[in-house]
Symmetry: C2
Subunit: 327 residues, 2 copies
């Protein structure tokens, strides 16, 4: 089996650290591993599979050595500046930031949905937004069967989506990272506001859903909200289909789709929740029920660990596809 | 000005206590005040406007004395048993439980919306569900102008909606009242589950919306979720109208409606939040924006103190209407 030279950018961050754990767990075939961070964290050491690795400061010449795949998790500014440099030097980039996601020359990939899109990559493959991933995964099998007409998302997002700063605000009751106290609060404000009154996070969910499902005819709207949860996002998803359906068909389609675990036995209080999804790689779907307010509608409740399937796991799965392609 | 003999049932509970505070704040014209509770809390004393009142155990003969209006906040079982007894003895009942809300002979009143409905009361007037009240208040002026066709609610409900037991679970990190830990969690389960997969809380929001707005043609669906917030519920509301509208007309209609405070200046991070709504009587509306996924749609975000406007304040406002009618 071929082994690869891998770089992880933002290795000291919350997502970067989870990428390393995921690479180890999934036994990614690594020849050489290079870890990069900003100047601030450079010089520290990180253990990976029993071996210590020095974290280097990311620089323009960082990609001069022989690197096959670079996983970027250092934020938008870092990706914007360094991903094109890496590509120019022949590196395959898996980018966790939002910078390139809607670029028409960049595939936006959820491996369970559109693995074939990596084929037309010109060097960068974008990892979707965390709340988008756990929303499009249940949409995909249902779209294939019943054609999704319209989707309304309301999110319940954990503070780990903001990285270590968000966790600190919640755990220590601070008002540093968020504009308001997040403990005992709900803040309907994720990422910055746009002219039309939406947040960037809401627009990401709207645009990325269409791109990943490769169907611009799907109508989508979203309201994204931060709540006092540490790990795992939840999304209340209202879906209207073009075609008629039986609820049993919906269950079956969801249960058979890779990456989904249906948890829906309300008589026994079984439904997805953040505290149960934390640390897991599946997208948990429950509260599946017909929406009687429209002809062909359902409501579902989706929960997934935003740092794992919402970021690190999906990025590593993309890297696995790239590696397979390079073999 | 005529003064009234008032009874508060469930006076030692969270809503009962807030009813007493609200009666004092609004200077309700009281001649005699009688406080009732279950056997467990009977015998305790509660101060009201500088005077101590003995809490009596509620019994079948409690309404034998001259009582004009009784505010019931002792839970469904207490209302079911004792409200009809009170009515039989000529008492006007304002009931905070869900027991009589959908009874066709019982008006379901939000004073800003349908005060005239108290006229056809046969003795009991029902106070709507907390999350319903803060949702129908913004719907009313918009329904009058643009005719609401379909509404999709996703709620973010605080633990005080479950009374003191819910607050204790959150504050002390217990798993006593809820089936799971509520701290750092989101539980998509409020009240019990029905055969069709909905919770009673969701069905309350659906049914009560139509009854209060007196329009069965409105289509409604709901997903109700408990989150780690102490006071004030939030609701993400997606609304589709029959008629075309300008966003400025929506703002104007909401701003002019009594009981609403529009908080919507996202450039200055102004939007409604539970920590700001706590202790207030208004329904706070923000994040008002066009929903581009449908012809005539908007998304809004509604926050209100579930114990005040969602329960106690609305009940006292109904009692004021009843009192005015008795004068």
């Amino acid at each position: 089996m071929k082994k690869f030279n891998l770089a992880v950018i933002g290795a000291t961050g919350l997502v970067g650290g989870t990428i390393l754990n995921t690479l180890a767990e999934r036994d990614f075939p690594i020849e050489n591993l290079y870890l990069f961070s900003s100047k601030k964290s450079a010089g520290s050491k990180i253990e990976f599979k029993g071996q210590d690795y020095l974290v280097e400061e990311l620089a323009e010449d960082s990609f001069d050595r022989d690197i096959d795949i670079a996983l970027f998790a250092g934020g938008g500014a870092v990706s914007e500046r360094f991903a094109p440099i890496a590509v120019e030097k022949g590196v395959h980039v898996v980018d966790n930031s939002s910078v390139f996601r809607m670029n028409k020359e960049v595939p936006l990939v959820v491996p369970e949905i559109n693995p074939e899109d990596i084929k037309w990559s010109k060097g960068i493959i974008a990892n979707p937004n965390c709340s988008t991933i756990q929303s499009v995964i249940p949409l995909k099998p249902l779209h294939d069967k019943f054609k999704v007409k319209r989707v309304i998302y309301s999110t319940y997002q954990s503070v780990s989506g903001s990285g270590l700063g968000g966790l600190r605000d919640l755990e220590e009751g601070l008002v540093e990272f968020y504009p308001y106290q997040i403990a005992y609060n709900a803040i309907p404000h994720i990422d910055s506001f746009l002219e039309n009154g939406y947040t960037k996070e809401e627009i990401k969910m709207i645009d990325e859903t269409k791109k990943i499902l490769n169907d611009d005819s799907i109508k989508v709207t979203a309201t994204t909200v931060r709540i006092p949860v540490k790990y795992a996002h939840s999304v209340s998803i209202n879906i209207e289909f073009e075609k008629k359906f039986e609820l049993e068909e919906v269950y079956k389609a969801l249960e058979e789709f890779p990456g989904i675990k249906v948890e829906d036995d309300v008589k026994n209080n079984l439904y997805p929740m953040p505290i149960k999804a934390e640390g897991k790689d599946e997208v948990f779907i429950g509260r599946i029920r017909r929406d009687f307010s429209v002809e062909n509608g359902i409501n579902i409740w989706s929960v997934a660990d935003n740092i794992r399937k919402g970021a690190a796991t999906n990025a590593v799965q993309i890297a696995e596809l790239v590696a397979k392609n390079l073999e």
